[in-house]
Symmetry: D2
Subunit: 335 residues, 4 copies
């Protein structure tokens, strides 16, 4: 059975997912497109035999030929399309963020529960990265005992002027927020943000680096460095310290060189390459699950929890205070 | 366009390739099967909608619905099927060995040249491994200058009694024979084999370990350890020493553990897992190339050259002498 | 010229320093001993040709034959002996702590300044570790640019019941307090302590692990994990993140093993072995400096600053609050 | 007890040993000097209180005040002084080579046996390197089972024109010859030398790199690369492959840097720094042993065996043949 997919939003990430579905993944095809820029949608459709262009996302979702929906439009529009897909009873894969506010995320959660069907997956691709999966397998396998602390860092060589302080949380650290919670099967209860002196390579509107401190329900303490003008490369690090040992995220495979007085491996410069394979795995996994009426990846509740946590981190960053992270209890629907 | 493939031989490797073509790769489907054990072929066909079973490989090759052929039958039958595919003008992917003897390989080379079409690919999957590709990219990019030496090792935790000394060359070191030649773009001119004392874990009919010494046309010297009862794991190592530096094959990605007084990463035990992804890349690459009438992977000449080299290594192993590796010049057809 | 040394306190660390001075180091000899347990002092003297036993530390310090003093007695007695050595105008090497309270340390600082001579060195041996020295050389050499953050950990396999929470600061983290300040040439301005859930391997009176957060005058942020029942080994880690790159303390040299499905190096179990060589370097360096009337190692001000910082960390640990670290400005005497 | 030492030869290595004995080591002092250039000896003596200059090595050896002798003169003169020291019944530490020919080494062996006293140590300092010692401890401790193969490399960034092919054996690989034999407690029985193409960075009179193949009495096979214009650094590598696992010489401790798109450690450029500490350990160890009438380090038989092996390697290099390594059985005196 082939899953017939409609894609809303044909910007960069949308086109990447379309190419993935067309050329790399199996069991699905793109049959429908919509974009706020209709000409752009037409241009993409021209390269996709059998794909129709719809005037808007709602029309695409409503189309009988569309069995499942991928939302890759502008962030503020996500919630509308996700809610429409739920209303139509169709599986929907929505790129992060699930919605522009935690409240809107919660509405999605409520709508999904009301629908009685598991329909919504959020695009947190790190859960599909081979390295993080191996790390989770070690933790779940009891290799290091109960987790006590996580030390992690999210470093990027440089960001443009348009990247301002809040983005360190909502665009960058948001990946740690989702993946760490999944890694240790725990929820956050408070956030604090430390501000070291700024690097000389930052911009006027960006505090860089910062350190985010999270505490979890089980008492795990996390320190997460976000440093987006670190110069030397795109570097994602994560060490989980447990009662019996520590496990660290693998470095990406790299040829070992002995040259020019150095024994070295390469550090990537381009974040897109770092998790490239995980996007394929993520979307292939979603296709299989969607066909079976399941959501195996990050669900609407995860999207909501990430939003609440990000809000708390922002508040902590602006206030310098420890901020509590409060949500209703997780609905049994998501157990 | 979908490539309609017939598979000859549904043993373990045959079934793995069929599963790959059915579930993981894109642009191809298995439409025909043949096996010396017809019931086995029927059983596999039962799980493959639209696949027919043919009484023998020749009939499968001749079937109009078959556009390309995968040969995964018993080694001694390979040449017959490959020659039949050439005669039928159909692309053929043949698992190693291309043929049982170097002479038979050469007949295939001659038949392919006579056909005027590039049709034959041999299943040396290491050329598709991410690590070897990165290593070749470093060499081709001039990072280490002109290669002078290669130090490598092919280690396996243990082999059964049925594995005898010659298999260290024809089943094990054959992978190094192909991949090293490709890595440095060079041909071998002589072979010598050293026999260290045997490990106490070997069997009566197996000299283990051995060290194969190869010299190339450009004067590169290779020492290749083959140690198939090394106990500790499946471990493939390769260091290329060049005029400006050295480059080493990456270790497979692994979680770093600090536990029980050790800082460690895992070493695989199962050879099948080590190059698992490379089989997918190999076959996907072949599908694309076959559709375009190209052979981008190891071709018939490569299969022939590997056979001649393996013969020389065997002779060197049995005699203790340095054995010359002699072939006709490479036909322009393969430039 | 040989430096004639008197040692006050012949417990474990005292006897180690005596053995060092007698057998390994050059340019000094132990001529005088004192200990609260006179028989113990006699016993040690019996193995030291030419060494006399004095009834108490004061008598030893006053003895004309004693040119320099090593204080390795019980912590609460340190200040008295150090002050006596200053009064006698003799160089004194005092094991940590310099004194039992920050106030007592400050009295020593004032006495030393009043004496007009540089006489006091405190036994913070990590500054003499080859690894830390290489790390400092990289920082001072501008390799990583201006420091912004330090991530570090001090892990020990296990501690006895007698080790209670405050000791995590005053006996364990005290080493980081001194060495990090020296590493980046900066002073601390505040401390905060986080308490993750306790490991199941801790005791009733010990919060383990903890995370100490320090901020410096220059805005560097430090997170230091102290985990003294980590099971897996004695492991000291330190990463300094700068504006142009990161530098990490080297792992101690270790044979690399490939065995039992693991690629591993050993992690030490015994903290005494980790910095063993640095004690030799430290004391040899002190001998040379003492002969020249200099103090090149951690001085009285450093001992005072460490004491003030430790007090702030303790207060932070007990209160859960951010605690300021306040000292008078550093006297010009110590520039 | 202080050992009163006479040093013959005050060239670079002589002066280094003198400085070591004067400033770093304990239990010995330099009381006598001799050099073919008397003014040079006088100049060195000027900085050594209490040291006398003797007109020649023989006079120095005969002087009653000299209890032990260090020979650091020009290689061809070594045998004469060592024999004189034996005749005088005085312990002698002789820098490599023990003598200019294997025959002369054998005469020394015979003279020492005839004297009935263990007097001669040869300056192969690698046995005192911390890394090699850890490697030997792992082997001797049975960690990797019985050794089967050794893969090693001796690389140097560059050599001057004066360094010709034979020096790759007698000055460079000679260190591997001694240390590997000690490492696995085995003797060599044959040598072969392979010549890869020359690096473009070599000189007219130097084949560089070469690969030396050694076989031992127990059937261990060794491949040793010698590459003295490798450009990238001074790099000593050694992997011992045993029946149960492999053990590798540690890399020297180095700060780990993340900078400029590389994760790197430094590779030394200067060979003198690589084994710097081992010279101290070696000479200190010799002092202790000499006082007790023992030789714990490389003895005259080891010096002889190294000379015979080097001769065989040279013959193998010049002839391209496998050359047997033949010595009389080891005298019981050296058991």
């Amino acid at each position: 059975m082939t899953l017939d997919i409609g894609v809303i939003g044909v910007g960069m990430i949308g086109r990447e997912h379309i190419a993935r579905l067309a050329n790399t993944l199996v069991g699905a095809r793109v049959v429908a497109l919509a974009d706020v820029d209709a000409r752009q949608a037409e241009a993409v459709a021209a390269g996709l035999p059998g794909a129709s262009v719809y005037p808007d996302g709602e029309a695409l979702i409503a189309a009988p030929e569309v069995q499942a929906v991928v939302v890759t439009s502008w962030g503020p529009t996500h919630a509308t399309y996700v809610l429409a897909a739920i209303a139509a009873g169709k599986p929907v894969f929505c790129e992060k963020p699930l919605a522009a506010t935690a409240e809107a995320c919660l509405s999605i959660v409520e709508a999904e529960i009301a629908s009685g069907k598991h329909l919504v997956q959020v695009g947190f691709q790190r859960r599909y990265d081979k390295g993080y999966r191996a790390l989770k397998a070690a933790i779940d396998g009891g290799v290091i005992g109960a987790p006590l602390m996580i030390h992690c860092a999210h470093r990027n060589p440089a960001v443009p002027e348009a990247y301002v302080s809040d983005m360190a949380i909502v665009d960058t650290f948001i990946h740690e927020i989702d993946v760490l919670r999944w890694l240790i099967g725990d929820d956050y209860v408070s956030a604090q943000v430390l501000k070291p002196r700024n690097t000389r390579h930052t911009h006027a509107k960006l505090d860089d680096p910062i350190i985010v401190l999270l505490a979890t329900k089980n008492g795990v303490r996390i320190d997460g460095e976000v440093f987006v003008n670190c110069r030397y490369g795109y570097d994602i690090r994560c060490e989980v310290v447990g009662e019996e040992g520590c496990a660290t995220l693998p470095e990406p495979e790299s040829v070992v060189l002995r040259k020019d007085a150095k024994l070295s491996t390469a550090i990537m410069q381009d974040w897109k390459l770092r998790f490239l394979e995980s996007y394929d795995v993520e979307l292939q996994d979603w296709i299989e699950a969607a066909k079976s009426g399941r959501v195996d990846g990050p669900n609407a509740w995860d999207g909501y929890f990430a939003a609440v946590t990000a809000d708390a981190c922002l508040k902590a960053m602006h206030s310098g205070e420890v901020v509590e992270i409060v949500t209703p209890p997780r609905p049994a629907f998501y157990d």
